[in-house]
Amino acid sequence: EDQVTQSPEALRLQEGESSSLNCSYTVSGLRGLFWYRQDPGKGPEFLFTLYSAGEEKEKERLKATLTKKESFLHITAPKPEDSATYLCAPAGTQGGSEKLVFGKGTKLTVNP
């Protein structure tokens, strides 16, 4: 069965304090891994897609990396507006169809 574990569940940082979020996954036939940002009461906002081990993607203060079993979301010098829940979702091929499997997310709080 496909599984996704995100850690930590919650993370508090001071503005400017860099850190990383982890996403460990076990997915059959990985087709890609997606990162989303979700603000309270809103739908997830697409950030990145990673397709193969060793791939990296960057957007502003965020950088996502992928290995065969994990993905990391690195946050460099975060600002309060980066506060949100970050969701990881690998896409696997299960039963002949492609589906996203979501982790529970990491709630990031950046204090000024």
């Binding site: 996704v4 087709r31 890609g32 997606f34 989303y36 009461g41 809103k42 739908g43 997830p44 906002e45 697409f46 897609t49 397709y51 969701l87 979702a89 896409a91 169809s97 492609e98 589906k99 996203l100 979501f102 982790g103 529970k104 997310g105």
Partner: protein, 114 residues
Amino acid sequence: SQTIHQWPATLVQPVGSPLSLECTVEGTSNPNLYWYRQAAGRGLQLLFYSVGIGQISSEVPQNLSASRPQDRQFILSSKKLLLSDSGFYLCAWSVGTGVPPGGYFGAGTRLSVL
């Protein structure tokens, strides 16, 4: 550009009442469409997905159903709501065959069943 509309934004319904949530996508053709539910403290759970008109796949046995009467319209329904149906319901879309289904999400509907 593509946009996804989902309504209503919030809904309070009594136990045993019917449900109809609607989602429409603009700016694309033949999208894959998805209904997810997000309960407090839990990850997003895929409920239904559709690759075309009238084609619905169910992921979780429950008292909910989905229909796709038009190419860019996806409807989530129930004949009788349960307390356990409360949650945040999200519609999403993606395009392409052979492409990982990274979905783009609507704003969601907060459903409270009382």
